[in-house]
């Protein structure tokens, strides 16, 4: 594995708000197809890491390297173009758009037609739109939302809204998927469905996934590698069983 380029690599990534170092010296390497968990107590800086990895925040130190390409000073949409997509902890859907439109909106950067084609409804326009609809339906199918394609995103039940966020992220055609507490607030059935969905995605697209999750059993079950942060510092990283036995991790979670 070591000779492959990692999908994601960060070097000494850090950000301070005012005097507070929210994330400090964060280093991670994720290889294609891996599923890595990022865990830590509340307020440890997990979501801030995601914001750094997607260009929502600009780091005050260090670099994010995606597929060998450093992304310093790039904007969020350029991070997405480089191959990273995410979901949000507090669901952020396009609430007044239909389910299928949510997915199609995420295709925007790859749509080949321009204003001329759109204005005069050329053949290229129709063909592209047809292709987009088919692709969107395929993604919705994977996430079990095909039957709800034409309803408003805001009218979906909570669990399905989370899945729609995943479908939308998939539409960006990414190499690395960041999932921010995808199972939060879900009941066991929904969580099981979500796991299945994640597995399908890995098999189908071969993407790497970085996962923030509070549900320990879920993380221990599915992740191949786990990194633990607390107060913005990495306190441990390793295989699930190593993490479960690590005294520093246990201390951090018990608040010692």
């Amino acid at each position: 594995m070591a000779e492959k380029t990692p999908v994601l690599e960060t070097r000494k990534l850090g950000i301070s708000f005012g005097g507070l170092k929210a994330v400090n010296d964060f280093n991670i390497k994720i290889y294609p197809g891996e599923l890595v968990g990022l865990i830590g107590p509340n307020g440890a800086g997990k979501t801030t890491v995601f914001n750094l990895l997607t260009g929502v925040y600009a780091p005050t130190e260090g670099t994010v390297i995606l597929d060998g390409q450093p992304l310093n000073g790039k904007k969020t949409y350029q991070f997405v173009a480089a191959g990273v997509a995410r979901t949000f902890q507090n669901i952020r859907l396009f609430r007044n758009m239909t389910v299928i439109e949510n997915v199609k909106a995420a295709f925007t950067k790859d749509v080949g037609y321009n204003l001329f084609h759109a204005s005069f409804r050329t053949k290229k326009f129709w063909e592209t739109e047809k292709k987009l609809t088919d692709k969107a339906m395929e993604l919705l199918d994977i996430c079990g939302l095909a039957d709800k394609a034409d309803v408003l995103a805001s009218s979906l039940p909570y669990g399905r809204q989370r899945k729609l966020e995943i479908a939308r992220a998939l539409a960006t055609d990414m190499k690395l998927l960041l999932l921010d507490e995808p199972a939060a607030g879900m009941n066991p059935t929904e969580t099981a469905e979500l796991l299945e969905c994640i597995n399908t995605i890995r098999k189908r697209f071969g993407v790497a996934i970085l996962l923030i999750e509070h549900d320990m059993s879920l993380v221990m079950n599915i992740c191949q590698w786990i990194q633990v942060i607390d107060y913005g510092q990495t306190i441990a990283s390793g295989l699930p069983e190593e993490i479960a036995a690590n005294p520093r991790v246990i201390a951090a979670y018990l608040g010692e």
């Binding site: 929502v56 859907l93 007044n96 995420a106 925007t108 790859d110 204003l115 739109e129 992220a169």
Partner: protein
């Protein structure tokens, strides 16, 4: 023949209807053109409706679809109006056309409309790039500021003049030399106004029903999520702003066609006339933020109400107090706006688009929803 999908059928139906209406308008104009109230009232009203429709729809792109409140929209309209007027005067001076006749004049007319749109779009670009870095209240106030500056600069340009074009150094009545149409020409060139309006509305409709529309509605609903979905938010915002300014400019060109003189006071933000930026906001909100057809309908309805309040004979029969209120129609519009906002924050039609081919389906759905709501109420009542 290739099979058409439902969308294709809808487009075909709309095209047929529009062509039929357009032809009918031509025939009616040919039949009644020279006479009475048709010439003096109806045709000028249609001209005014035309630019109001374009204006409302173009503001809706920014307000309803992109979700940003721009208060400087009339500034772009002013740019368009002055561009078209000055260009037409220049062409007349260069003796390209005379007495508004001939093919050359028609070409000049369309060139003026196009030039108005393009210059407005350029200014829109210039304004949009710095302004759209801001959001919400700050964007509203910065666009307001830009609108004021545009008006102020036009006022101070030597060839435009504070007191309007007719008195400025252009020193020529638009009626006589430029684009400004008298009632006779308004009848004669009604087709041009209709054509420009149809094309403008269609282009805006095509814009919102494409990747562009999806992108900007995504930005409206959640800008951070839109960026995280790979949408270049700044690009689409500025593009939409410039696109909207283009059509505001086109509306301005039509406006200068209907007037003998131009004066910047008609485009100012703080002005009680029908054309101020607030009135356009009223039209957009009434028609529904996010509905082009709603804006078109609202423009016509608002124009009609405004006309009736000012000129209708039935007004004389009303009590004196009501008549006194009607003297200040903006008072009525302000109340209507507040009431609509209170009960339907996204406007009367919301984002519903009126469509001929889906009319039956939508009507049925609406009736069913109503029946369901009614039975629900009934049930709630019987349950105590």
């Amino acid at each position: 023949m290739k099979k058409l999908g439902r969308t294709g059928q809808g487009y075909l139906l709309n095209t047929i209807i529009i062509v039929l209406l357009f032809t009918a308008a031509q025939l009616v104009t040919a039949a009644f053109g020279g006479e009475g109230s048709f010439k003096l009232v109806l045709v000028p009203s249609i001209w005014q409706c035309c630019y109001l429709m374009i204006l409302a729809a173009s503001l809706n792109l920014v307000l309803g679809f992109l979700g940003q409140l721009s208060l400087g929209h009339c500034g772009f309209m002013a740019v368009g109006a002055y561009t078209a007027a000055l260009l037409s005067l220049a062409c007349e001076r260069a003796e390209l056309f005379k007495d508004k006749e001939g093919v050359v004049f028609i070409l000049v007319l369309f060139a003026c409309v196009l030039a108005a749109g393009i210059l407005s779009a350029l200014i829109g670009l210039l304004v949009g790039i710095p302004a759209l870095r801001l959001k919400g209240d700050y964007l509203a106030i910065i666009t307001l500021g830009f609108g004021m500056i545009i008006i102020n600069i036009i006022n101070n340009l030597p060839f435009c003049g504070q007191d309007g074009l007719a008195l400025g150094s252009a020193a020529a009545s638009l009626y006589k030399n430029g684009l400004g149409f008298g009632t006779k020409s308004k009848v004669e060139f009604l087709w041009a106004a209709l054509l420009v309006t149809i094309i403008s509305i269609t282009l805006m409709f095509m814009f919102v029903r494409s990747k562009y529309g999806r992108a900007i509605r995504a930005i409206r609903d959640d800008e951070i999520a839109a960026a995280a979905s790979g949408i270049n938010t700044s690009y689409y915002k500025v593009l939409t702003f410039a696109y909207s300014a283009f059509f505001a400019g086109v509306a301005g060109a039509l406006y200068s066609c209907t007037n003998a003189t131009l004066s910047t006071s008609s485009f100012a933000f703080t002005n009680g006339g029908i054309l101020n930026s607030t009135f356009i906001v009223v039209m957009v909100v009434l028609g529904g933020m996010g509905s082009i057809t709603g804006s078109v309908a609202a423009a016509v309805i608002m124009f009609f109400i405004n006309y009736q309040i000012k000129n209708g004979s039935w007004v004389d029969a009303l009590p004196a107090a009501v008549q006194a209120v009607f003297q200040y129609p903006m008072l009525v519009y302000a109340i209507v706006l507040i009431v609509v906002i209170m009960f339907r924050p996204r406007g009367i039609f919301g984002s519903y688009e009126f469509s001929l081919i889906n009319l039956k389906r939508d009507l049925k759905a609406a009736l069913e929803r109503r029946a369901a709501a009614r039975s629900e109420r009934k049930e709630a009542r019987s349950n105590g």
